[in-house]
């Protein structure tokens, strides 16, 4: 009798085990490739009034005069900043030069490659020098191009 009970318990256990495995069912997996690219980005924008405006009221006592305009560089890569201008036609010994400053009123230094991440504030300063009475009355306009590369 005990053997019969044991046999029945054994059969029942095996049946439950089989059912449990069946309940687990089939599983399938597959993978999807993921690719992310953040491309190089750079922007430069002139702030403030966006212009360099040099007005000399007394050329007898003024040898040079400057004005600066801030500009902002945003980039996710190391860059260099350079400027060029198209100012021509200055009379006499007048000369126009540009400098890149770390900020308006900052030291006149050529910036190292811009740091990645936070926007970098610069200033573009234009200077008119060798001013004298011999230059006469002058009105010259032009553009300074800021290049970040």
């Amino acid at each position: 009798m005990n053997k019969r009970v044991l046999f029945l318990v054994g059969v029942l256990s095996l049946s439950l085990l089989t059912w449990s495995f069946a309940a687990l069912g089939e599983t399938a997996t597959d993978t999807a490739d993921v690719a992310l690219a953040i491309n190089e980005y750079v922007s430069v924008s002139v702030e403030g009034d966006g212009s360099i405006d040099i007005t000399v009221n007394n050329p007898d006592t003024t040898n040079s005069s400057s004005d600066a305009v801030p500009f902002t560089v945003k980039t996710n890569a190391s860059q260099s900043v350079s400027v060029s201008d198209n100012i021509t036609g200055l009379s006499g010994d007048l000369s126009f030069t540009t400098d890149i400053l770390d900020s308006v009123g900052g030291s006149s230094t050529t910036p190292s490659p811009d740091s990645v991440g936070n926007p970098h504030e610069y200033a573009l300063q234009g200077t008119l020098s060798n001013i004298s009475l011999d230059d006469g009355i002058v009105n010259v306009t032009g553009e300074v191009t800021i290049t970040v590369s």
């Binding site: 599983t27 399938a28 997996t29 993978t31 999807a32 490739d33 992310l36 491309n39």
Partner: protein, 136 residues
């Protein structure tokens, strides 16, 4: 004598007929038949994830949608997603359009992968990884 002979011939004929009829006889037995169509499930990814960010200054998050097809003959299956992606400074997440599976062929699903916390500090970046899709 002829009658005896005829009788013997008749008896012999009947015996042979009986044997012949017995040989024709009908009998039957059975063979068990068992047909099993096992549970089947497969996944096929048709489109992966490809995210390109052109302006990380104004783009905080970017997404792309992938497509996969589930073929199964079972009901009650569910879909789950996992990934091995851990990108410093960036957050990666996935969402599934529909986690339930319809038995039959060509049950198409979409999943969306999103990269967030993008900023200029991430630099110029190329990263890869995998999303694992499981149907169970």
């Amino acid at each position: 004598m002829n009658k005896r002979l005829l009788f013997l011939v008749a008896v012999l004929s009947l015996s042979l007929l009986s044997v012949s009829l017995a040989a024709l006889g009908t009998t039957s037995t059975t063979a068990d038949i068992e047909v099993t169509i096992a549970e089947y499930v497969s996944i096929s990814v048709s489109d992966g994830i490809d995210i390109t960010v052109e302006n990380p200054d104004s783009t905080n998050a970017a997404s792309d949608t992938g497509t996969f097809t589930v073929d199964t003959n079972a009901s009650g299956k569910t879909i789950s997603l996992s990934d091995d992606i851990s990108w410093s400074g960036l957050t990666f997440s996935t969402t599934l359009s529909d986690s339930s599976v319809t038995a039959g062929g060509g049950d198409t699903h979409n999943f969306t992968a999103t990269v967030s916390d993008i900023d200029l500090g991430d630099g110029v970046t190329t990263k890869t990884g995998e999303v694992t899709i499981t149907v169970s």
